[in-house]
């Protein structure tokens, strides 16, 4: 339970507005935890495969995912409007007859994930590469989404 600081508001110590503020903050925290994110970091055990990291700089968005065992042909990547769709299948070859598994931890299967892009990108210029089981997608920001330097006249 959050500790409330008892500073007087404009209308005295406790007002209906303070209660609404506190309620609003708690609700937004609740929504965070429902989505599996707390302060921008994903909680363990939650999510859709594959997990993604997204970064940006002034020019581009960068998306990375760990997809061991996959190469470019096993993936379908498309960008439409402000969403990116990633689909594919991981296959694990059969070990053959007369094998005795000591451990079996890896999984195979299909996946499909749609990601909302937080910034407008130039879909024509998106590039993607699969290397050593890591997918790296570079999405150039649309010109209107790039930061602009503004000269200050004096």
């Amino acid at each position: 339970m959050a500790i409330l600081r008892w500073t007087p508001g404009p209308y005295g110590f406790r007002t209906p507005w303070r209660e609404l503020d506190r309620f609003r903050n708690q609700m937004s925290g609740l929504l965070d935890s429902l989505s599996g994110y707390t302060e921008g970091v994903r909680r363990p055990g939650v999510g859709v495969f594959p997990l993604l990291n997204m970064e940006e700089d002034a020019e581009n968005l960068y998306l990375t995912a760990e997809l061991p065992g996959l190469s470019g042909q096993d993936l379908e990547l498309s960008v439409e409007g402000d969403s990116l769709t990633l689909r594919g299948e991981r296959k694990i070859p059969e070990a053959g007859e007369k094998v005795n598994y000591h451990r079996r931890e890896r999984e195979a299967g299909v996946f499909r994930r749609v990601v909302a892009l937080p910034v407008k990108v130039d879909a024509e210029k998106v590039e993607a590469e699969m290397k050593n089981g890591i997918l790296r997608v570079t999405l150039p920001k649309a010109p209107e989404a790039k930061p602009k330097q503004i000269a200050v006249r004096s």
């Binding site: 994110y37 921008g40 970091v41 994903r42 363990p44 055990g45 939650v46 999510g47 859709v48 495969f49 594959p50 997990l51 993604l52 990291n53 997204m54 970064e55 940006e56 700089d57 968005l61 960068y62 760990e66 997809l67 061991p68 065992g69 996959l70 190469s71 299948e89 991981r90 694990i92 070990a95 053959g96 007369k98 094998v99 005795n100 598994y101 000591h102 451990r103 079996r104 931890e105 890896r106 999984e107 195979a108 299967g109 299909v110 996946f111 937080p118 699969m130 050593n132 089981g133 890591i134």
Partner: protein, 131 residues
Amino acid sequence: MTKEMQVVDKVAAETAGEQTREAPVFTPRVDIYETDEGLTVLADMPGVDKEGLTIDLKDYTLTLRGAVKAPVEGRNSMYREYEVGDFFRQFSLSEVIDQAKITASLKDGVLTVVLPKVEPVKPRTIEVKVN
């Protein structure tokens, strides 16, 4: 119908031996199976290439170590659903492995190590000389 892949969180390695740089270390997921000829270990180590890979077998302990490249500088993280780090795992082998015949290959971030068992010693009849 093919199964849908589920998210499985990366597990931090408990002990990783000596490290020369600060980086998180994870336990790669593996499949290990045995045939009459030997053991095969398949480990998912995305981001590891040949230069970053170390495999050694000493005193019945197989050690797999994979280094991934440091992330590119100058970028802001918008969200991070998984951590990036090196991989480390050790196994105790009960079978006698022919070390000279171990082979390993790395493709698309998956390491395959084949460890052939030592050829069984042929029974040898020992002649007893009686004086």
